[in-house]
């Protein structure tokens, strides 16, 4: 998208969006890796599996949201995304701890 197409174009949002997407992709890869190496017969394996899968789904939803927001008008709420990233990290950490 170019500045001519959207009057609200702000490069800062695009840069921030790109960084958050990179972080989310990293978390997504981490959750998939964790799912892959998870011992299914271990104690709390089901909880760890569910938490990791939930983290992966939330990552996907946030990436999709940023994509749509940047495509639409280059704006998105920063606070919900940062809170979402913290939520995903928390889910993954609890899953790994289990």
């Amino acid at each position: 998208m170019t500045g001519e197409e959207s009057p609200t174009y702000e490069p800062a949002f695009e840069r921030l969006g790109t960084r958050i997407v990179a972080l989310l992709l990293l978390l997504e890869v981490l959750s998939v890796y964790f799912l892959w190496v998870l011992n299914p017969v271990g104690p709390h394996a089901e909880d760890a599996f569910a938490l990791s899968l939930a983290a992966s789904l939330v990552c996907f939803a946030m990436i999709s949201y940023i994509y749509r927001a940047l495509k639409r008008d280059n704006r998105f709420g920063r606070a919900p995304l940062i809170a979402g990233c913290c939520f995903v990290v928390t889910l993954l950490m609890v899953g790994i701890a289990l």
């Binding site: 299914p40 599996f49 789904l57 949201y65 749509r68």
Partner: protein, 519 residues
């Protein structure tokens, strides 16, 4: 009217055409046989409330996936059903997780379908040209309830078998031709084995097939008609940016994926926090010690049947009334045929819908709290009548607020001021209106209390008369109760007359009570 919707269809306005052509045009405009598919959707459809039905379908897909995994182990016979379910719980990797997610997405599917139904009711999506969509959606709702009913029996636990027996008891209380047909359809002619096998077949083959066919039909009609325009209640025109069309892919599709992902994550987290445990296996000896209770989505029906007036001889009456509610819901597009969709223009239907939702919620919670108890008539009248009257009062007051907002927004209601003895909303009369509203609301509450108490007393007196015969005390009680009902109804009617809701004004004043209300 926007391009994304098709409320005015050329096929439907066929003057000068033959009857057969008009009939074909009616079906074409309702079923969308000649429309192009996968058209862009309007921006206003990017709203979670537009996707409640889609989320129910997502829940159905999750259930399909988890259900197929459970089918690998499950054996539908009374001797092995519980053991194989327990095997999934204890010995299969992620087995408890599978069972838990399957159950909670089933609950979510039923709840989402109900929310989808009531949202559609309140914003009148059932009106032209979406009548057929509504009917198909209602049928899908019944299939969803069928999923719940049939699936609940399959683990063969004491809870599930007892609950299913309660449901079958309801079916068997219907008039003989219907009850015998439905009983044969659901449980066959045999015993437990035939019943379980039928339920399994219905749950994994017949109901999914029916749901998929109905879903296909509904999706086709959705594509033909587009999504309905939002109803704000203020009748203000939609901004142009909301009407802008956006492509199905990637914009709308990605939005749906986001909602589905968040919904899936929520289901997973709920499964972690509240893992399922399997109740004891069903046995006839154990069943005698257990208070049967249906699952939560049938509790409201069960609670109605527990009212003492509907015990035994009254049971067919209650079941007929409940059936009538469902029939009215299915046929709603042909009953509520008014042109307008605005909430402020449908006060009767909106109030009825709100009362229905409140009564269902109250009955379900009440049923959960009183397992196996027969509900006295007067208590039922007090709770149900009180709920209905309070919701009606709340609806009337809410309508007043909406009407005030409507007038402030510059819509078509009359300006403040007016003839002697009439106080309208807004302007210099705001303080007077507030004072009058407080008195009116207070009067309503008193009338609600009087009305509910009188109704319950009247029912109690009639029941006492039927059981113990006529006596002067009972007759006096009945007369006083009826007088109370009449007074409550007359008072409520007077207050409603004074409020003059359609015109957003108060007609008359009573200086004695309504202090501070000056013209």
């Amino acid at each position: 009217m926007v391009e994304g919707s098709s409320d005015d269809t050329p096929a439907d306005s066929g003057r000068g055409k033959s009857r057969a052509e008009r009939l074909a045009g009616w079906f074409d405009s309702r079923l969308g046989l000649s429309y192009e598919m996968l058209r862009p959707a309007p921006q206003y459809s990017i709203n979670p409330f537009y996707w409640l039905g889609a989320l129910a379908v997502v829940a159905f897909v999750i259930q399909g996936v988890t259900g197929v995994m459970m089918m690998l182990y499950y054996v539908p016979s009374p001797s092995q059903a519980y053991a194989t379910t327990m095997y999934v719980f204890q010995d299969v990797s992620y087995g408890t997780f599978l069972e838990t997610v399957h159950l909670y997405t089933a609950y979510a599917m039923i709840m989402l379908a109900f929310m989808h139904l009531m949202r559609g009711y309140f914003v009148s999506v059932h009106k032209k040209p979406r009548e057929a969509m509504w009917v198909v959606g209602m049928l899908m709702g019944f299939v969803t309830l069928g999923f719940g009913f049939t699936g609940y029996l399959l683990p063969w636990t004491i809870v599930s078998k007892s609950a299913t027996d309660v449901g079958l008891g309801m079916v068997q209380a219907l008039p003989p031709p219907i009850s015998s047909f439905l009983t044969f359809l659901i449980v066959g002619t045999g015993g437990d084995a035939a019943e379980l096998l039928r339920f399994y077949d219905l749950h994994v083959v017949i109901l999914p097939a029916i749901l998929l066919v109905l879903l296909g039909a509904k999706m086709y009609m959705l594509e033909a008609h587009g999504v309905s325009e939002p109803v704000t209640g203020l009748q203000s025109p939609l901004p142009e940016r909301k009407k802008k069309l956006i492509p199905i892919f990637p914009d709308v599709s990605f939005y749906l994926f986001e909602l589905a992902a968040i919904f899936g994550a929520a289901m997973l987290l709920i499964s972690v926090v509240f893992p399922l445990t399997l109740p004891p296996e069903y046995s006839a000896a154990l069943a005698g010690q257990y208070t049967a209770q249906p699952d939560w989505y049938f509790l409201w029906i069960y609670q109605i049947l527990k009212i003492s007036a509907f015990e035994e001889a009254g049971l067919p009456v209650a079941l007929s009334a409940i059936t009538l509610i469902f029939v009215v819901l299915v046929l709603l597009p042909f009953i509520d045929r008014g042109e307008g969709r605005a909430i402020t223009g449908r006060i009767k239907y909106v109030t009825l819908g709100a009362v229905f939702v409140a009564e269902v919620a109250v009955l379900a919670v009440w049923g959960y709290l009183t397992p196996g108890q027969v509900i006295p008539n007067e208590q039922a009248a007090l709770v149900l009548g009180g709920t209905a009257l309070l919701i009606t009062l709340g609806s009337a007051l809410l309508y007043r607020l909406l009407s005030g907002g409507l007038r402030k927004a510059g819509a078509s209601l009359p300006a403040p001021g007016g003839s002697s003895g009439v106080v309208r909303t807004g302007g210099s009369n705001d303080a007077a209106l507030r004072s009058a509203s407080v008195w009116t609301a207070g009067s309503f509450v008193v009338l609600v209390a009087l009305g509910t108490f009188s109704i319950s007393s009247a029912i109690n007196a009639v029941v006492a008369m039927a059981m113990r015969g006529l006596s002067s005390a009972v007759l006096t009680s009945l007369v006083l109760a009826l007088a109370g009902v009449l007074a409550a109804v007359a008072g409520a009617a007077y207050l409603l007359y004074r409020l003059d809701l359609p015109n957003s004004r108060i007609k008359r004043r009573v200086r004695t009570f309504e202090l501070g209300w000056s013209k």
